[in-house]
Symmetry: C2
């Protein structure tokens, strides 16, 4: 029998996260205070995040020890298996080997708990009693709900009202783990009340939900805010994925030619690729490819600029690829990829041409995802289907070039709670979104006056 | 760090299924032809099942080789991890060790593909081109859809209309794997047409769906029928679960005092317990406990009798615990446990007092399931929560007796597509079903005239 999976023993789980800030090919621009235009310091962030995570956000230490309490929770589903997609390889009939990390085996079904568990731990250790966050489709909110339950923290999740109503399973998951899931806009915050006063039927947006979650956290000194992507410490926690993959591939004597993942805010992609970015910065010949949606083409069509991380302009100005903080992406099913910006670390690496970005239309991604499900069995999250579409494209190129290629990608989550999207695709109801250049230009005008990184 | 999981290498996957018929403590009564009252022979079953599976149904060989093509598909998710539920142990604060097999890691999220893949393979090998089956909540239908796709068979699933409408995610899963999922009653069969003529809005029932699937299969010589539980060959295929568990527990030097599982038709419970039943029959001191719902208390309140396997009286008469083939269980969320009968093999072992059965109310089971989810992370299928309730009960007994106990149970599936049930429980909307004795007696009158086993 041909081997399909590589497991690591629990004793082989990595004991440290990898911090790419120790190996960046050139210095990054700092986040700026929007009022003063000066770099933000730890004290500016103290009402929002606990100091131990703020320290992690800025440290340039290469290796950060994973606390024992976090490792203990990781072991509930980690190390995750590394798979070889032999059936999909046969289907593609190209000279490729395709390996993937199955992050869908976690209780909420995605990579998100890798940082949720760590953030809950550090907040608890800092004496915090409650976390507040926002969620769109619900992957992040459900992961943080589980993590808070594990460390005895209260959890409040502001969920975009449209998703709250359309995807009830995710909020039920949060309730099952004991969290308080609130449709946003809500009457719990001034930001929410203001929106509701103007439009009592507002479906909400991720931008509004972020504003509510931050306001809710800052107003309560025993509470802090938690973010599931974009920030340096979030990417740091996700490197456990790539570090495990490196160990697993070493076990079978394989080194990839291409590392791929889908990218919305960037956390799952960073998780698999940053340990390989380190190799590349030190001279290794390897391609690193991020897949994003054509309807929200941050890296492929946006400029590298300073912009707010949220629509309501409450965060520091971050140096990143952006479509403008008031850009509203089309309602594609990959809710986790509908973000106007991109993690500053990944943005910097794209600008430095260490990472390459490509955009895929959602019909192309679901077509790849259905082929995948029929060959490999597992049904992928709509976000993950973007990575699979990139894998298909790479395989076609390998075939055309007659060149053998080893690929590694992050199968970031399963799609069992996103089946309505498959239904829409299979019954021909999915929309292809052509994004007019004017729409991007309009959104970008909102950031013209900001400093340039 | 304390170990939580035991993996088996792919090379250690069992190469044979275990057949309990070689080790039964006493002879079983045969299935009877309802017309003649004589034991059914292979030819009676030939229009319904392929001959290679009929042979497996009756063989008394102890070990049956697993075909290479089946093993290859098993490896997509098998061997499944054996977990120790340390966090749940701490919560229960009892002198127990709790181990479980995580069958939720399969693509459809349950143990069902263990037999679906085998049945699809044998049908394909026999030259069959299409399988027909029924499904209630959808676990079985989705598993068979995936298996048929893997072996290039067409698949038609008659899904009880009530579930088809209330649980759209399962039918979307079937569609994604390329199956044709039809709400039952349908206009595709005479049985369906007859029901629809009387009641165009009929919500359907498992009994009607079975009748439609059998009629559909028998009418097409290139098609056969497939059943997801109850029959000997189905239980045989599921023994891979218990055989793996035995290897994994041996690896850490553990032998269980109690083996538990939930039982509807009996397949997941048989899967984990039959290899241990073999040990017990050969003198080992071990308790084997089946958990069923109080609303459908087949083994705890029904007689051991000959009865039809389906409501429409199309199957042979099976010797089993039964509540009568026209018993209609209350609409509990554990759809997979709403079956009036029980696998003849398990029924025989209950009658011989090798296996003990206990009944649990659904509120008790969800209470156990929510505690589990908050301690262990994973959200269980409503069926699986019955096994967890039995584990809680055993732990309480161990505490009262001051006796150490090692438990092993089958965590037969996750509940991510059943979250509406958790929502009902958490918002206090779940009903406790008290089943009046008269209701059972009424249903049993329908089988009074059958021969006694």
């Amino acid at each position: 029998m041909e081997q399909l999976k590589v497991f690591l023993d629990e004793s082989e789980i990595p004991r440290q996260w990898y911090n790419i800030l120790a190996d960046m090919p050139s210095p990054m621009s700092p986040p700026l205070h929007p009022g003063t235009g000066q770099p933000v310091g730890p004290d500016d962030l103290a009402p929002v995040f606990p100091m131990n995570l703020i320290e992690q956000e800025v440290t340039t230490e290469r290796w950060i020890d994973i606390p024992g309490e976090v490792l203990e929770k990781y072991l509930l589903w980690r190390p995750t298996p590394l798979y070889r997609a032999r059936n999909f390889e046969k289907l593609l009939d190209a000279p490729v080997q395709i390996y993937y990390k199955n992050e869908g085996v976690s209780p909420p079904g995605s990579h998100k708990p890798n940082t949720a568990v760590a953030q809950a731990y550090y907040n608890k250790a800092f004496g915090i009693e409650r976390l507040s966050t926002e969620t769109g489709a619900g992957q992040w909110g459900s992961a943080l709900s589980m993590a808070c339950q594990m460390f005895g923290l209260e959890c409040r999740v502001f969920m975009v009202r449209g998703s709250y109503e359309q995807n009830p399973y995710r909020r039920m998951m949060m309730m099952t783990w004991g969290a308080n899931c609130v449709p946003s806009p809500s009457n719990l915050t001034e930001a929410g009340k203001k929106i509701l006063a103007d439009d009592p039927d507002s479906p909400g947006s991720l931008g509004i939900a972020i504003s509510e979650a931050i306001e809710d956290a800052v107003a309560d000194e025993k509470a802090r805010y938690s973010l599931g992507s974009v920030l340096n410490h979030v990417l740091l926690h996700q490197t456990i994925v790539g570090l495990e993959a490196q160990k697993q591939l070493e076990q079978i004597g394989v080194y990839p030619d291409v590392v791929l993942g889908c990218a919305g805010g960037g956390s799952n992609f960073a998780g698999i690729c940053l340990p390989y970015v380190r190799d590349k910065v030190h001279g290794k010949d390897i391609a690193i490819v991020a897949a994003e949606p054509t309807s929200c083409p941050t890296m492929t069509r946006g400029p590298f600029a300073y912009d707010f991380g949220d629509t309501a302009m409450t965060t520091p100005l971050l140096p990143m690829y952006t479509l403008g903080h008031d850009f509203v992406p089309a309602p594609i099913h990959a809710g986790g990829l509908r973000y106007h910006g991109m993690a500053p670390i990944l943005s910097h690496l794209v600008k430095e041409e260490v990472i390459e970005a490509r955009a895929f239309d959602q019909i192309e991604t679901f077509s790849a995802g259905v082929q995948w499900a029929r060959a490999e069995g597992f049904i992928s999250a709509p976000e993950t289907n973007h990575a699979i579409a990139a894998v298909v494209q790479e395989a076609q190129r390998a075939k055309e070039e007659g060149k053998e290629k080893v690929m590694l990608f992050n199968w970031s989550g399963h799609g069992l709670v996103d089946l309505a999207a498959y239904d829409a695709f299979l019954s021909g109801k999915l929309t292809q979104y052509e994004l007019p250049e004017e729409e991007i230009q309009r959104a970008l005008r909102a950031i013209e006056k900001f400093p340039k990184p």
